[in-house]
Amino acid sequence: LGVYDVHKQDLEQSQFGKLAARLVSASDVKPAQLREISTWELPFFSTETRLIRHQSFSVLVVSAVLRSLTAESNISTQQILDLISRAEGVQSYLSLQTLDAISSLPATTNSLLLRFLVAELRFRRTRSGDDELERRSHFMDLFPANNRHDIVPFLDELAHDHPILAIQIARWCTRRFLERLFRIMASVRDVLEVRLGICVWLILHDKLLEEDHTEERNALERELSNLETRSDIDSTRVHVDEELFREWFNDTQQPSAVRYVQTVIAEGSVIANESLIAYFSKFQNDELLMSTASIGSDLILVQIVDQTLSAFASDENFGLDAYLSRRIRHGTLRGHLLAPVDKVLRDLAEMSGNRDMAADDDRSMRAHQILFKWRSKLLHAIDHVRKEIIQVKSPQNRNGLIQSSWRTVTNVRYLDAVVNRVRQRVIETGGSYDIFPDVYAFCWDCLEADLVQLRRYMARDFLAGALTSLKNAYGESPSDVKQILWGPVAAIGTEVKNRVYEVCGWFIRPVFRRNEYSLKTLINTYFSTVKELDENYNFAEHLIMEQDISIDRLTFELLGDILFILIGNAAQHGKANGRITIVARWVADRTDHVELTVTSEADNQASLVEAVNRINAAITGTEADRAAVREGFSGLRKIKGLFSSRQLVGNVFDFYHESIECSITFLIRIPAKFMAARLELV
């Protein structure tokens, strides 16, 4: 065999080589064909010729062997497992008929593992939904129902005889894959725990990607730590399927990413004379992006970022627009906003004892008609929002508020930062740095301003319009009907307001990849967020902190929730034109705490007493309320719940009032690095 001769030295070193040589010689594959394909492939690979040549040759040999198998072939399950595990991507060289033939071999039908592997190859070949379910079903067959704890021991056992295959399967067990193992997984927590176990296993076994696995493990640990806090909010938040997005990135941007890394290495650590912002300001159009030859690393990265951001927003499989279309625009938004209105209308109809409103209660009927007419207006406004506003801006959707563009003043600054950060990391790691996480985080950075616009539109334009027309409908109704209408109108007003705030909660960025955050930014962000949502907000804001404090992700999220509630309450119940003061300081004790006081003013002594009573009642309530966003601006019980579920030494959540100054102050003290404090406790 000519091809075999070329690789003789490599192949003879392994059992695999001997087996492959024996089976190839018995098959009907002509060696010249193998040589031709092998040679044809080589120009596509760059410099690591020996390894890649060996790998590509292995794939070709394995595919030839697999094609030659028949029911009479003298080959064991273990040998087929060994073959497949040594040829990543072999499915590209196999027809579906061949895969079907392999799956019906006795060696396959007798092995649950091999059945799964063949189903996996088939799925990787077709990418169809049916084959995806098939491979998952075969994977689930490997384990008893509800026994997710067996997955890591299974990998351990498999690694004894087939270490490469075990690593391969562990890599396939992505979060998305695990999430859909319906016989094994029952909750998000199950998925996170299993993936965490697999990551820990991979760190020990998969040295090639150790850094990636370590980063993922850390992220999973953080996510598990604050699962309860985030769960009910995250399920409805804007969403981009990160795994599909990553697949897309690998398929379409990897060559550019490699070119980028190589260019950065070639350029060395020379600092550019000017920032990207200054550079771009010289150009009036995007022409420079059209040029792909002889350009520096920064522009290659900008090209990658530009295309990636576009896919992030608009890809029909994983993009933001696809999510908005499937989950929000179709039905969900309408259902969410109209449901409480319809409930009130139904109750009103039932009051007369007849859903169709017969004339036995004329006033109820007229009240129903007035509200039903208003409901039509609301429906029209909702349709406008979903068809015109919650859209990616394009020539077809000129009013869409999602621009998802880096070409804005703020976003160019983000771009400048990501360009510098990625370049630095590539240099530091000698070119092994994976740029995807930074590009992904950048996409969310660019979306931030759009999400603010969406929240602002919903909380101000939409809500104000809906409430004004409701008020008008009530005001214009005959006086005898007003009596009946008052209760339902008040109920609808409150419910619609709450629902709109909930919808605003959908448009909050769900992903935080970094682990260090600025407390000052957090406080200012929540001042802005509350201001956005409350059109009557009219307070002087005072933030007193000597120097910025760095907090970790868990502290960031806890304090975010707390500030949303406390600033929101202060804005809703505090003295109009008064001030809201936040004092933040570092407390250098055993676990380094951050201490915040949030002070607001009451109108007078009477309202101060009322507020103190209300706060006391809320804080001494027994049920911890988990849904701050849903409640609008309340949720002190939620804060209490957050603190009682995170019992660490030194945590404080308390409040006091000053009668003379007519002020109420909340005191919060939590570790600046909550994660570290918790681990220390463990």
Partner: protein, 149 residues
């Protein structure tokens, strides 16, 4: 009459439940609020009718960590499993979408029962557009449920 109601929205579920009980007073209604819950029910039991929503969370929202990834076409996943299990339960799809996506194709609701039944080899009786501001879905559902008598 044993019925599986696959619906995560409480309001819509109550609406559908009321119609079911109107047609079958003695109906025994099981509820699934996520793709995972629906798949688990179908793996173990047969139903006289399955009412199926299309857009579902992966897990029940009340579970630890919430609903997981939202699945815009989660109902299709349920139908796929039904095909794999050669499930005899008839399905009625009640969705707020004007169309159903399958393998990159958009199917109009009017055409979907026939096409999906043929493609998946299972019994899909009807695809009904659920709308809050139009009661015609109620009539349609009553008719389809009544034909199951």
């Amino acid at each position: 009459m044993k019925i599986l109601l696959v619906e995560d929205d409480e309001f819509k579920a109550a609406d559908l439940g009321a119609i079911i009980l109107e047609v079958y007073r003695d109906a025994c209604i099981e509820r699934a609020m996520s793709v995972t819950a629906a798949l688990r029910w179908l793996s173990t039991q047969k139903f006289d009718v399955v009412l199926l929503d299309m857009s579902l969370p992966t897990f029940d929202m009340s579970g630890p960590g919430g609903g997981g990834s939202p699945q815009g076409q989660g109902g299709i996943e349920v139908l796929r499993l039904a095909r794999r299990l050669h499930h005899i339960s008839p399905f009625i799809i009640v969705t707020q979408y004007p169309d159903i996506e399958l393998e990159g194709r958009s199917l109009r609701l009017a055409d979907a029962p026939q096409i999906l039944s043929k493609m998946l080899g299972i019994s899909i009786k009807s695809c009904i557009l659920y709308e809050l501001d139009d009661d015609s879905w109620r009539r349609e559902l009553r008719i389809v449920l009544n034909t199951r008598r």
